[in-house]
Symmetry: C2
Subunit: 444 residues, 2 copies
C-alpha cells in the first residue's frame, strides 16, 4: 500500500484533548475520529487492527466449541422487564421509543436476549452444553465518556454465554472460557492476569476479571507477583486439566480493589511478592447459575422426566478496548515509538525510501521490494510522500508496523537497512528479511 | 460438525407467520429468530451464510481500491441538520435522546457522517480520489416491517462513498463500483441487472439499482431481456474499459416502475424482447455531485490555488437482505430443496448416515469420511441424530449444503452415494468426491 493512496490522516502534534497515550496515538495517526462524545469512527488504520483482534478472539472462541451468532443491537424492553433489570440498569441504558411507541433499548449486554433465544429453541438436556457467542456493538450511556475508545459509549465487544445442565458442568464451561481467554490475550502479546472480581449488575457468585498492567488503568490491583510467571501452555480441554489450570492460578492472591482485603493480603502474600499497581480490564467472566434462566423460564427436560432451569455463565472481551489496551502496554511515549504485535499489526513492515526531486530510484527500489514481499504474503506500507526523511521515519514509528526497511542514499549492494521498529539497524539481504518475518508470522 | 452439537433449531413445519419463501425457510431451519418487529437474531446457520456474503462483498470492494472503515451506528443530529435531511427523513429515522438530552439517531445511511470525516481529514486534490466503505448495521423504522430480513428494521449493509475532484473523475469512481457490483453478485451466483433508477432521498441525477429476478420482489421491472446475456468478464479497471461496460449495459432499456415510460418502452424494445416482471433490489448506486460536500463545506485545494467542493457518490449493498434474496432465487419450495451456492454455503457437504439402534457402523464411517474432508478443507455437517432416515434427508435438503453423501444399508465397497443436493445420486469413491468439490471451490 502506498501511503499517498491511503486514508491515514496523521497529525503533526499530539491532540490536546487526549489525556492518555492510547487516545493520543489513535487520534494522532488517524486510527479513529470522534463522531460525538464517546462515539468514534474507525479509520482504515484503526479498523485493520481491530479486525485482526476480532479474528483472534473469534478463532479462540471457536476452538473451545463455542458457536457464533449475532444478536441485534436494538432490543425490546420486554425481556429486560422479565429479568427485572429494566429499572435496575439506570441511566447507562440508552432507552429508545420507536414510532409505534414501543419501549426499546440499545443493548448494553445480552443475557436476556440470549436466554430468550435459548428457551425457545432448546428443550432437552441432550442438546447441552451450548456455548454461544457474538461480536457486536454495545452502548452504555456513560455520564463521563473518556480516554477515547477505552471508555466510550458505543463499543465493540465479544460476549459469550454458556448453558449447562448442572453446576458441575457449568463450571467446566466456565473453565473452557478461562483457558480461551488466557490463549487469546497471549496471541495478542498481552500478559493478562485473571483476578477474582465482583459480579456487579450481571450477578452470580463466581467471577474473574482479566487485567493487563498499565499505569493508566482504572482498576487498582493487589496481587502476588508470582502469578505473572504462570501460563496455560500445558492445559487442554479435558475437565481435569482445566481444573488444574484454575487451581494453579487461584493459588496466588490476585484481586481488584472491590475485593481487596488488606489483612488477608498481608497474611497470605509475603512482602517481597506483593504487587500493588493499576491495570486495564480486558475481559470479564461470570458464573450466575439460574439467575436469568429462572426469571425467564429457560428450562430443559432432565433424564428422569423432570425439568430444571439451565445453569448459565457469561464471558466478555472488549474488542475495541483492546486496541487501546495494546497501545497502553506497548507504546513508548517518550521516544514516540509504537511497535504493534505482529499478530494485530496494521502492516507487517514499513518501507521508507528517501525521495529527492528528480530522483525516484529509492521509490523504484521500494516498489520492487514490495512486489517480492507481496509474493510472500507480507503486508507493506510504503511512504512514497516527498516529506523530509526524518519526519517520514517519525511518522512510521507512530504508525507502528513492527519492521522497517529504510532506503537512504547509501547503496550497499544487495544489503538493506532493516530493523525491528525502535530497534537496531541490521544490513540484510531481502530473502533473509522475508525469512525472519515469515518465521515470526508462522509462530503466532 | 455434528448436528447434535450444533445450535440449529429446525421446525417440523413452515411457520405460519411467514409469507414468502425466504422468510419461511430461514425460520424453519433456524437461520434467524425474531427479536421484535423487524429485528432478528442470526443463529449459527444464518450467521455463517451472512458472513460469507460479507466477505465476498469486502473482497470485491478491496479489489477496486476502496478502503474499509467503520462508522458508529449512533450519530449526532448535528450533521443531519447541516445537510438539511434531519427533518426530511421523517419517521423512518429512529430518533434518540441520550441522558444529556442530546438529539441522536440510529444511522439509516452515512452520507453526512462520511462527509464529516472527509472534510476534517483531506485538504488537497493530491489525496483524491478516495473510496471509503464500511459494513455496518443500519436502522430504518419501517411502519410495516415484513418478509423477515428482506424488509427488516435493523439491517446489515455495505455502504461506500467516493470523493473526486471533478465530475469526470467521479464517474470513473462510479463505474468502478458498477463493475465491482457485477462481480460481487456473480460470485454469489446471482444474475443482478443494473437498472436506471430514481435517486430518492439520497439525491443526485444518476443512479442504478441492481435487481435480481424474483416473483416475490417488491420492484416492478421493465426491460429488454437481452440484457441478461451481458457480462463484465472482459472489463478491467481502466477508464475506457469501464466506459464501454456502462455503454454495453445502457444500450438496453431496463428500468424500475418509478422510471417506467410505456411509450418509450414500446418504441425502443421489440415486442419479442420485452420483459415485465418483478425483482429484488440488492444494490443501489448514486452519483450526486456536491450535494453533501457543498452543504457541509467539504472542499479541497485545487492545483491552481482555488478551492472546490468534492464530487461524491454513494454505493450500497444489502448484506443481510442478500441472504434472503439468494433463497428467493434458489429455493425449490415445491420440493423443499435448498442448494446454497458453494461460495456462501453454511457447509460444503452434508453426510447423512442411517443410524440404527446398536449399530453405529454408518456413523463411524461418516466420521472417517469427515476426517478426510477436513484434511482437504471441506466443511461438513454430519446428521448424527437417531431420527428416521427420510426425515434426516428432508432436513438436510432444507439446510442446503450443496453436496450430500448418504450412508445407507447398502455397502458398495469403496463407492459412496454422492449427489448434488436435489440432483441424481452417483456412486463415487471419496477421492473423486473431494476432487469434484475442490475443483468447484477453486473456481469461485
Amino acid at each position: 500500500m502506498l501511503l499517498s493512496n491511503s486514508f491515514i490522516p496523521v497529525l503533526k502534534n499530539n491532540p490536546s484533548e487526549a489525556k492518555i497515550k492510547s487516545h493520543q496515538l489513535m487520534l494522532r495517526v488517524g486510527m479513529i475520529k470522534q463522531a460525538s462524545a464517546g462515539i468514534y469512527s474507525w479509520l482504515p488504520l484503526g479498523f485493520k487492527v481491530m479486525k485482526k483482534i476480532e479474528n483472534i478472539v473469534r478463532q479462540e472462541q471457536n476452538k473451545i466449541g463455542a458457536q457464533e451468532i449475532l444478536m441485534p443491537t436494538i432490543q425490546s424492553s420486554e425481556i429486560w422487564k422479565e429479568s427485572g433489570r429494566y429499572e435496575d440498569y439506570g441511566e447507562e441504558m440508552l432507552r429508545i421509543t420507536d414510532r409505534q411507541n414501543r419501549e426499546m433499548l440499545y443493548g448494553p449486554t445480552n443475557e436476556e436476549q440470549v436466554t430468550e433465544i435459548f428457551r425457545s429453541s432448546i428443550k432437552s438436556y441432550k442438546s447441552l452444553p451450548q456455548l454461544l457467542y457474538h461480536i457486536q456493538w454495545k452502548f452504555r450511556d456513560e455520564i463521563r465518556p473518556r480516554f477515547g475508545i477505552m471508555r466510550g459509549r458505543e463499543f465493540y465487544m465479544k460476549d459469550a454465554y454458556s448453558f449447562d445442565i448442572s453446576d458441575d458442568e457449568a463450571l467446566y464451561s466456565y473453565n473452557k472460557f478461562f483457558l480461551s481467554y488466557l490463549r487469546t490475550f497471549k496471541k495478542l502479546s498481552l500478559t493478562a492476569i485473571p483476578m477474582a472480581a465482583d459480579t456487579g449488575p450481571i450477578g452470580g457468585n463466581l467471577s474473574h476479571e482479566f487485567i493487563i498492567l498499565a499505569e493508566t488503568g482504572e482498576s487498582k490491583i493487589f496481587t502476588d507477583k508470582r502469578i505473572f510467571e504462570l501460563n496455560s501452555d500445558d492445559t487442554n480441554l479435558e475437565k481435569k486439566s482445566l481444573d488444574n489450570m484454575r487451581k494453579k492460578y487461584e493459588q496466588y492472591y490476585a484481586v481488584t480493589d472491590e475485593k481487596f482485603n488488606k489483612e488477608k493480603f498481608e497474611k497470605i502474600v509475603l512482602e517481597k511478592n506483593r504487587l500493588i499497581t493499576k491495570g486495564i480490564e480486558v475481559g470479564h467472566i461470570f458464573y450466575f447459575g439460574d439467575k436469568y434462566s429462572k426469571a425467564m423460564g429457560a428450562s430443559v427436560d432432565l433424564p428422569g422426566g423432570k425439568k430444571d432451569f439451565v445453569k448459565m455463565g457469561s464471558y466478555g472481551i472488549g474488542v475495541s478496548r483492546l486496541v487501546g489496551a495494546i497501545i497502553e502496554a506497548k507504546y513508548d511515549e517518550k521516544n514516540e515509538i509504537m511497535k504493534w504485535p505482529l499478530s494485530v499489526a496494521p502492516y507487517d513492515i514499513a518501507i521508507i525510501p528517501m525521495i529527492n526531486k528528480n530522483d525516484n530510484s529509492a521509490l523504484d527500489k521500494a516498489n520492487n521490494i514490495n512486489e517480492e514481499l507481496i509474493k510472500n504474503n507480507i503486508d507493506t506500507i510504503i511512504d512514497d510522500t516527498d516529506e523530509n526523511f526524518s519526519s517520514k521515519i517519525k511518522k512510521m514509528n507512530l504508525i507502528g508496523a513492527p519492521y522497517q526497511i529504510i532506503i537512504g542514499k547509501k547503496n550497499d549492494g544487495d544489503l538493506l537497512e532493516f530493523k525491528e521498529t525502535g530497534g537496531e539497524t541490521q544490513n540484510l539481504p531481502l530473502n533473509k528479511i522475508i525469512e525472519i518475518i515469515t518465521k515470526q508470522k508462522n509462530s503466532i
